[in-house]
């Protein structure tokens, strides 16, 4: 009698296999960037509440991971939409095509500013991109030669900067925020140094290696993917600077302040107008083959691009998304509404 219990795993196994057969899906599945995640989930929730469709499931897998899942094929077992904090790469489009995902709709949703911030207990920093590069790169040119980064204090870079140790808390290499920071701030700074811009013209690979490698001698501290943690650490250590997304500065403006980069303060308006230089575009990609198979895709896209979501005063702006300029918004809305395909150039 007691051994009847042994039949339980068998029964469960049967249930498991039968679940595999259930193919149809009436719920949108979204994967991708952790930067877009807070915005995508806000739209998903609103969409679920205001329409008769089920609330989409949104996974935070990172931009690269999301595109990999997205490109793994067509069919209800693959995601319908992937969020990305960068534009899809040509190699990824090719990979998608290999697996039969040929029709992709790109939707640009707005900008995300990356800020360098510190505690309000200390004065606000004003940095140039070149100074950011010099402060954080592993190797910098000094007197026409590349040497290991000799700068220890901010005042070593420029006499106008405070005489405190260079200490920057930022995300690890797996993070998209870090990629964007390196590309926009550090590479941007490296290009301004004549010796490195010559290098770029002759040897792109070598230039990238120099511009993209962050120092490992303790001045740049990898503080994990959790931006809240960086904010807390900045409060505890007034000498440190932190690198994270604008929405965290927006939520904690009573405790921390964003450094001016190139003389421009990272405010909502400055990022939206493009004056603040360290910002990137955010996207999501839709699998057109799923439109009509999984219900609600077009309606979700319409909600995301609507004025009340992505507009200047939409609820996404409240969440920290920097909206596109009005003209570009209506362009995106039209092309996304018509599901215009990504041209493969």
């Amino acid at each position: 009698m007691k051994f009847r219990i042994a039949l339980l795993p068998l029964a469960t196994a049967v249930l498991l296999l039968s679940a595999g057969a259930a193919e149809a899906r009436d719920q949108l599945r979204i994967v991708g960037s952790s930067t877009v995640f807070p915005f995508s989930t806000a739209v998903a929730e609103q969409f679920g509440k205001t329409t008769s469709f089920k609330t989409p499931v949104v996974e935070s897998t990172g931009s690269g991971g999301g595109l990999k899942l997205f490109c793994s094929g067509v069919g209800t077992r693959t995601p319908d939409i992937t969020n990305s904090s960068r534009r899809i790469k040509a190699s990824e489009i090719a990979k998608c095509a290999d697996h039969g995902v040929t029709e992709i709709v790109e939707v640009k949703i707005g900008f995300d500013g990356i800020v360098l911030a510190n505690s309000k207990a200390s004065p606000r920093y004003t940095l140039t991109k070149e100074q950011i590069y010099r402060a954080l790169a592993k190797q910098v040119p000094v007197d026409g030669k590349l040497v290991d980064n000799p700068y220890r204090k901010w005042s070593d870079l420029d006499a106008s900067l405070p005489g405190v140790k260079i200490e920057v808390l930022g995300p690890p290499p797996t993070s998209g925020t870090r990629d964007a920071f390196v590309e926009l701030a550090m590479e941007g700074g490296a290009k301004q140094i004549p010796m490195l811009s010559e290098l770029k013209a002759t040897d792109k690979q070598a230039f990238k290696a120099v511009a993209h490698t962050i120092r490992e001698d303790g001045a740049y501290i990898e503080a994990g993917e959790n931006d809240n943690l960086i904010v807390q650490k900045l409060e505890a250590n007034p000498n440190a600077l932190g690198v994270f997304g604008f929405s965290f500065l927006d939520q904690n403006a009573d405790k921390i302040q964003g450094s001016r980069v190139g003389g421009v303060e990272p405010t909502f308006e400055n990022i939206a107008s493009g004056e603040y230089g360290v910002s990137r575009s955010l996207f999501f990609y839709v699998k057109k083959a799923h439109v009509g198979v999984v219900p609600g895709i077009q309606e979700y896209v319409a909600e995301f691009t609507s004025e009340r979501a992505a507009g200047d005063e939409g609820y996404l702006a409240d969440k920290g998304l920097i909206p596109l300029p009005a003209a570009e918004r209506s362009l995106v809305r039209n092309s996304a509404g018509g599901l215009s395909l990504l041209s493969s150039n």
Partner: protein, 429 residues
């Protein structure tokens, strides 16, 4: 006489004093180790409680809501479909504007309606759908405040900072003070936290979805790992011959117990999702992966519990003519059960706290609906904690700690069951 047995010379007495001192020192090391552990535990629990308790209450505002028939159901059809499409957000805005009729201008009005949560409109909609007779009447309702306004009443907004650096403007704070002075603001136990799923608005976010997800996942884990593990343990201990093959299996089980959990997640992704085509984010798959992870623990503890049953019990049963099966099912298994259950609960407790293997199979996700079964998308408690800890809104800080408290309560409840079961079945020789 005892005097004579004691050493009388000086050196022996000194030696004795030294030994006693050593013992006292040893005891004090032990006591201070326990003390240090207690201090750390109290500090940890204290900080979580201190931060998390505010999340169990929320501030609500009492407003007269006029269910304007022209707005909700202009034709008076009473059709639920029509009522469902009504503009309930407007009802809330109108109620606020009626309260502060001196507020004009688009910006100010936006700031005013931002004080009440966007969830208020959905709650009114639910009410009307449940009771269509409300249309045309005016009623008093408690509506949730927005997270920033709630935080203000919980002391989370520093009024002395610059207006631009605050989430609430001076005007918003003065409106909140007026509402408070009129006795319209009340702090209530937050029901929403226990009855709703996840949300991007901190004041609406609830733990129910993750709790139910954890329950389903653990149920699957238990159903798979307990019978399989116990059966394997009984066979290995009582029936299996001792040879190279069984030794090899034993070594492998012990090794499996030490495999990092993410590896099981990768296995789940490759085999369950990609090969068998099971749904992503489902407790069924999560439970299976966690069962694989728990299985070695269950087998190892069950085997040692079975081994602890005295051989005399088996021999006596065999001696009066019981078959091997009867020996096991009538005597060994009931006697070993308390130990087996303890081991299983420990394994389950570990499974409850796992997030790494679930990442691979899509359970680290934003899911609003409370899961309705083992195949509907779900997340689990530790994942919910992780997601909230990562959210930019400051009110999620308290939610994170509150979710940790719920997870701890879940764990304590599980351990309590283990203790009760053990006390009930335990037999001493």
């Amino acid at each position: 006489m005892t005097d004579r047995l004691l050493p009388t010379d000086e050196s022996a007495a000194r030696h004795l004093a030294k030994r006693h001192a050593a013992e006292r020192r040893f005891r004090s090391y032990g006591a201070s180790a326990v003390g240090a552990a207690l201090v750390v535990l109290v500090a940890l629990l204290g900080s979580i409680l201190w931060r998390g308790l505010p999340a169990f209450t929320s501030h609500e505002v009492r407003l007269e809501i006029h269910f304007d028939a022209d707005l909700l159901d202009p034709r008076g059809s009473g059709d639920l479909e029509v009522l469902g499409r009504g503009d309930y957000g407007r009802l809330v805005k109108l109620a606020l504007r009626a309260k502060f009729d001196q507020v004009t201008g688009r910006r100010e009005r936006r700031a005013l309606s931002a004080l009440v949560s966007s969830g208020a409109a959905f709650e009114l909609r639910e009410r009307v759908l449940a009771e269509p007779g409300l249309v045309g009447t005016t009623r008093l309702f408690f509506l949730p405040l927005s997270d920033d306004a709630d935080l203000f009443f919980k002391g989370g907004v520093d009024v002395s900072t610059r207006e631009a650096d605050r989430r609430l403007s001076d005007a918003q704070i003065s409106w909140l003070r007026v509402l408070e002075a009129e006795g319209r603001i009340e702090s209530r136990i937050s029901r929403r936290f226990f009855i709703s799923g996840d949300s991007r608005e901190p004041e609406l976010a609830g733990i129910r979805g993750a709790l139910v997800g954890s329950l389903w996942t653990l149920l699957i884990t238990l159903l798979l790992s307990f019978p399989t593990g116990v059966a394997a343990a009984i066979y290995m201990e009582e029936f299996a011959p001792k040879n190279r093959l069984t030794d090899f299996i034993e070594v492998n089980i012990n090794n499996l117990a030490a495999v990092p959990s993410i590896v099981f997640g990768l296995l789940g992704l490759a085999v369950l999702l990609n090969f068998f085509g099971m749904p992503r984010s489902a407790p069924l798959v999560g439970g299976t992966v966690l069962a694989l992870m728990t299985l070695p623990t269950v087998i190892i503890t069950s085997r040692s519990a079975i081994r602890a049953v005295p051989p005399s019990v088996r021999e006596a049963a065999l001696g009066i003519g019981a078959s091997s099966l009867q020996v096991v099912s009538h005597h060994v298994l009931p006697l070993a059960l308390p130990g087996i259950l303890t081991g299983t609960i420990i394994g389950m407790a570990r499974a409850l706290g796992e997030t790494a293997p679930l990442l691979m199979i899509g359970m680290v996700a934003f899911i609003v609906d409370v899961p309705s079964g083992p195949t509907s998308p779900a997340t689990v408690l530790p994942v919910q904690i992780f997601l909230w800890a990562d959210a930019p809104e400051r009110a999620f800080l308290a939610k994170t700690s509150a979710a940790i408290l719920v997870l701890l309560a879940f764990l304590v409840a599980m351990n309590l069951v283990a203790v009760l079961l053990r006390n009930r079945f335990e037999r001493r020789w």
